[in-house]
Symmetry: C3
Subunit: 126 residues, 3 copies
């Protein structure tokens, strides 16, 4: 149950939001060792207006012109190499839909298996 | 000091935001073993527009038609059974105000006692 | 790479967003022991409308009239005293631009060095 939250420029979201969503989900499936099923898709997009994204244009040696902040919350169970593989895949896939790789910013947060509840069948409570 | 962040459909927020807020807070108090006082109420609602909530409708065996993403940040001190009790109470209470239980999505993140600062009396800085 | 996310009243953001941003960044640099370079500036502002910020006005012994929710995600490497020094500096600096210190709410979340990816030079993928 990764939850993927994306804050990005509103114009970019309006132009390519669906493509970015598909690209991130494809990336997740392209690291099959993570064992995330294709149906495990939970994403949240938050378009941002002028002045709401504040960033240094060159920190880390890149040429940042905007920023797409991708925050991934997932269960603590992936080794570093799989997280890095996921980051690389995301960057590759969103670049294919036209994003600048310099502008991608990813932060990964971990919790436990017991820290999730993804719905309860209504029948169970009725 | 749990901080509860809720991203949900804008129409749902406009119709029932206050009721959902009250329901979540009531749930928190209905797990008295957590020891959260009634005044410990910090919630953040972020209404979402079309295309901003992306989810699989059936993952996990539920019949998801929309999604209400509830992210809870709290101090690491609750055993699994209390977190699960809280999740169940939240689902029960928001169902009572008309939400579909299939549509509730909860993620719990933990930090330390020292990771919070909830205001400073102005007198202390003047 | 701290990522700083701020949810706050829209009118306050429109009036003082840039000043608040500068104040928070200045605070970060005023705890030099944290070792965060001046270019390490990644902030996200999310203006909130009526009813979206829900809080208890007096919890914790302060006189809260609104709330400015500052969430900091950073690598787990700072001792408690440095985190507390950062909180104090943030509160001091945003007070200087006119915010009420009672209204500041800070939550700090930690992850690992390997949980970040701040852009990739486009040249590397082209």
């Amino acid at each position: 149950m990764p939850l993927i939250q994306v804050d990005l420029d509103r114009a970019l979201f309006e132009e390519k939001g669906k493509q970015i969503s598909d690209a991130i989900h494809a990336a997740q499936l392209e690291v099959p060792e993570m064992g995330i099923p294709a149906t495990d898709k939970f994403q949240l997009f938050r378009p941002r207006d002028a002045g709401e994204l504040v960033f240094d244009p060159g920190h880390g040696g890149v040429d940042r012109r905007s920023i797409v902040i991708i925050q991934i919350t997932a269960v603590r169970r992936f080794p570093v190499r799989l997280k890095q593989a996921l980051f690389e895949k995301i960057i590759t896939r969103v670049a294919e839909v036209g994003l600048r790789t310099d502008d991608i910013f990813i932060s990964f947060i971990e919790n436990g298996f017991e820290d999730w509840k993804a719905g309860l069948p209504s029948a169970a409570t009725s």
